[in-house]
Amino acid sequence: MIEGAASRETIEFLLTCSGVTGEPMVDQIPNLGRESEMLSEIGLSSMSDLFSNIPEGVRREDSLPLPPPQSEEQILEDARRLLGANVDLDSRPSFLSAGLARNFVPTMVPMLATRGEFLTSYTPYQPEVSQGMLQAMWEFQTMVSELVGLPISNVSMYDASTAAAEAITCAVRVKSKKATNPNSVFVSGLVPPHRLSVIRNYTQGVGIELHILPHNDDGSLDMETVSSAAGSSAVYVEQPNSLGILDEGLIGLKEIIGDSTALIVGVDAVSLGLVQPPGHWGADIVVGEGQPFGIGPTGGGPIYGIFACTKEFLRLMPGRVVGQSIDTEGKTAYTLTLSTREQHIRRHRATSNICSNETLIALMGAMHMSLLGPEGLEKLATRISSSTYAVMEAVTNIPGVELVNPGGAFFREFAIRLPGPAKDALSSMDEAGVLGGFDLGNWWEDMSDCLLIGCDEGITEPDISSLVDALKAWSGGIK
């Protein structure tokens, strides 16, 4: 049971709050002090008259047990103190990724995306005064489409996991008439448990049965069992998978499952600067985490999910789409289109409940992608690939440390097996000032001696030395 709020008579977190005087929120409410003037115009005498429709039985009589109001200066001071108590990824050698990148975001991106017109606009339901955001999203759709090799992209999902989950429900809607096992969907066994949990939440209510596809010892998908997925509505795999493995076998997957089963592929978006996009090897829907383009890890959000598909899925896909159009004078214009799929029109028959999405973060993504350009993308992917292999070579030279899935190709991440619990290794490395990766025992119990090491474009030689020294010091100590 979660600790209840039954005793919330006074607020106990005041110690995190610096003292205050006066009425600091006067700078936010322009009509403070003019209440009686406005009330008398509408024939009322007090502010409480405005709430006379709230019946006595449900009215709150006492005031809120919250701290006093603060000024901007005090809020900033508290924010600096509280957030300053966190260890940020750039303050030490960091090898923690696990699906979310410690990236470098060009300065232009947050500066331009937070221009007030973008930042404070709503969903562009009035296209005549929203041409800027609409065009930027249409350009975003184009860049995602080019990146993954599919013709259609929406303007974002919440994250990679909801994108994957809604891709599955979308695929079932489209394929259920052709599939012989319409409610069956096959999912790679290396989909990390948090994503699988999101997928289960999104699919359980509509009667979808999830089947797990096994993997070989080298981390590649077991192609022998894949044929059992033929006849189902969809197969969901990831490239690279959660252990960083680029699986050559996936290139032939569509041929095995056939046209009646949708192939959904989750990607590391940056890897597509080097790696063949799934749209070129038969994927029907491509999803993934857009975050490496546009925004820092931000404690896990806001980030954005990519969703791209073939024309077959267009009318049953989730999320908003921008289309080109013309105005009454024939001039090129942009507008939201295919809205009849969406909840505000179709209500319980909508293709998704998504309303607020991650547009501003997708805008940051579009800006970052535009800055990179094709060759910049290739270079960024190459830098990450190079650092992945450099780190791998260094740590697997440590006695007692071995690669979990030798022989394959990797991007950004790889797993190593340690001579003891990964949990202990991480806390020992933490004491040495190194964020050494992710304890895979948190995802899979039988991998509690395995560490997932994430490598980004910012890794340097000294970072690698620090990691190796810290890991050596720990592994040497347990012998």
Binding site: F118, T298, T337
Partner: protein, 502 residues
């Protein structure tokens, strides 16, 4: 019109990056290699800064002008919030870092959970859902598991009023529920008799917002809760209109079991052209064991433990347990939005009540100003709209029906909305709720001054006084004229066709 794809600099142009100090040329096998690069623009920073600046100038935000978009709570977004989320202690934080490394973020999560519980009268709060619709979905999932845990699997219906946001039925439907839509009473409020007729032993939940999308407080809400509870159902509060009631009443007092909050409406997370949002949920104790996992918790610090944030507590991610529905977002929600909302609430603290008071004051004031023009102004108006509801008082928003205007001179709600764009305003919410014909839904929020409201009312009257043809062909002064939405749906040009040389 130029696009970003018109930038076609030389191969290799674009953003400059350092060369890698590591060389591994053959790391990725040939069969996996990309054969040709994506057709992205090739542009320098100065070109792109200008491109996106020009695009921003063709985008209307709250910063540009009054944004009376009903149900969306388009209030001012304090700028210090944007400064705070650029601090490395949030921007450069990974959700999988050990609790000991994120004491400050956990303390803010904890404080936000407590604050939202207090304001809503709920017992436990999760900040994981990242949008209002995802909050609805999450809460309905918790309710679904609650019923299942009691062997009540047969409860397969969710009741929603016909004035509900479209996300309500869509979210319940995604959980596998059948939707029972009940019609509103003639005054626009909940029809208690219709509710009584709709409930039964198949009722899983009722989803309702209060004040309603008509801007009316549901005076029968306690009775509605009693009816649903007696039938064995759960009461779900759509927090879209929470801005109207903070400190005045709360969903707990009204009898609700679960509620979602829109941090992007009530607590000023910027709307960003459609997102990101943040849609935490609060629940009563009996639903708390089904919440998504984990939530922020704390215990008294033990001796020798790191100092944390200096308040004597150690903060940590608490696993919710075996009955938890698991995850709805892959990490811990939109932490950046949570931090912004925290900075917003700190500005008001226990005076959040003033915020709701002024939201309701501004709404009633503007409604009065629009519906009661001075005689000399009234004489020039072709035809007045009617009230969406005839109530004496509204809450934070109100509805108008343009039906009388349409009958007299053919001017629709959409025409009025488009003409308001020429006057420098965002249009009100159009044609929602659907139960009000030719509906305009107006929500001024507490951050607009009396002068802005007076001017908007005067300009609204000016629009109603104009030659109808000016309205039916509006807008006239925007970057493009009225956009042909049918053309867009027919031609489906959803991306740039690509440049030949790519």
């Amino acid at each position: 019109m130029s696009t970003v794809f018109d930038f076609k600099g030389a191969s290799g142009s674009g953003w400059s990056q350092p060369d890698s100090s590591f060389q591994n040329p053959d790391a990725i096998p040939e069969s996996l290699r990309r054969k040709s690069l994506p057709g992205w623009p090739r542009a320098s920073e100065p070109e792109l800064v200008r491109h996106y600046t020009l695009l921003s100038q063709k985008t209307f935000g709250i910063d540009t002008g009054f944004y009376p978009l009903g149900s969306c709570t388009m209030k001012h977004n304090p700028r210090v919030n944007e400064r705070i989320v650029q601090l490395p202690g949030i921007d450069r934080i990974h959700p999988l870092q050990d609790s000991s490394q994120v004491q400050g973020l956990l303390a803010i999560y904890y404080e936000m959970q407590e604050m939202l519980a207090i304001c809503s009268g709920m017992d436990a709060v999760t900040l994981q859902p990242v949008a209002g619709a995802q909050g609805e979905f999450t809460a309905i999932r918790c309710i679904q598991e609650y019923h299942r845990s009691r062997g009540d699997d047969h409860r397969d219906k969710v009741i929603v009023p016909d004035s509900a946001h479209g996300t309500n039925p869509a979210s319940a439907s995604m959980c596998g529920y059948q939707i029972i839509e009940i019609p509103s009473a003639s005054d626009g409020r909940l029809d208690i008799d219709a509710l009584r007729a709709a409930v039964g032993d198949d009722t899983a939940a009722m989803m309702i917002t209060n004040p309603s999308t008509m801007g009316l407080f549901e005076t029968n809400i306690a009775e509605a809760s009693r009816i649903v509870h007696e039938a064995g159902g759960q009461m779900y509060y759509d927090g879209a209109n929470f801005n109207a009631i903070i400190g005045k009443t709360d969903p707990g007092r009204m009898g609700f079991d679960a509620v979602h909050y829109n941090l992007h409406k009530t607590f000023s997370q910027p709307h960003g052209g459609g997102g990101p949002g943040s849609g935490p949920i609060g629940v009563k104790e009996h639903l708390s064991e089904f919440l998504p996992t984990p939530i922020a918790s704390r215990r008294e610090s033990q001796e020798g433990e790191p100092n944390g944030v200096g308040d004597g507590f150690y903060y940590f991610w608490q696993d919710v347990g075996d009955k938890s529905i698991g995850k709805v977002q892959q990490w811990n929600g939109n932490a950046g939005a949570v931090v912004r909302a925290w900075a917003f609430y700190r500005r008001y603290g226990r005076d959040l009540e003033r915020m709701s008071e002024h939201a309701v004051l501004n709404s009633n004031y503007l409604r009065h100003k629009i519906m009661n023009p001075e005689p000399d102004v009234a004489a020039k108006i072709n035809c007045m709209p009617s009230e969406g509801s005839e109530a004496d008082l509204v809450m934070h928003e109100f509805t108008l029906s343009m039906s009388p205007v349409k009958e007299v001179n053919g001017v629709t709600g959409k025409d009025v909305a488009k003409r308001l764009l020429d006057y420098g305003y965002m249009s009100p919410t159009l044609y929602f709720p659907q139960i009000v014909p030719e509906c305009l839904m107006i929500e001024p929020t507490e951050t607009e001054s009396k002068e802005v409201l007076d001017k908007f009312a005067a300009d609204f009257h000016a629009v109603l006084s104009e030659d109808p043809e000016i309205l039916t062909t509006a807008p006239h002064t925007t970057p493009v004229k009225r956009v042909d939405e049918v053309w867009a749906a027919r031609n489906l040009i959803l991306r740039h066709p690509g440049n030949d040389e790519d």
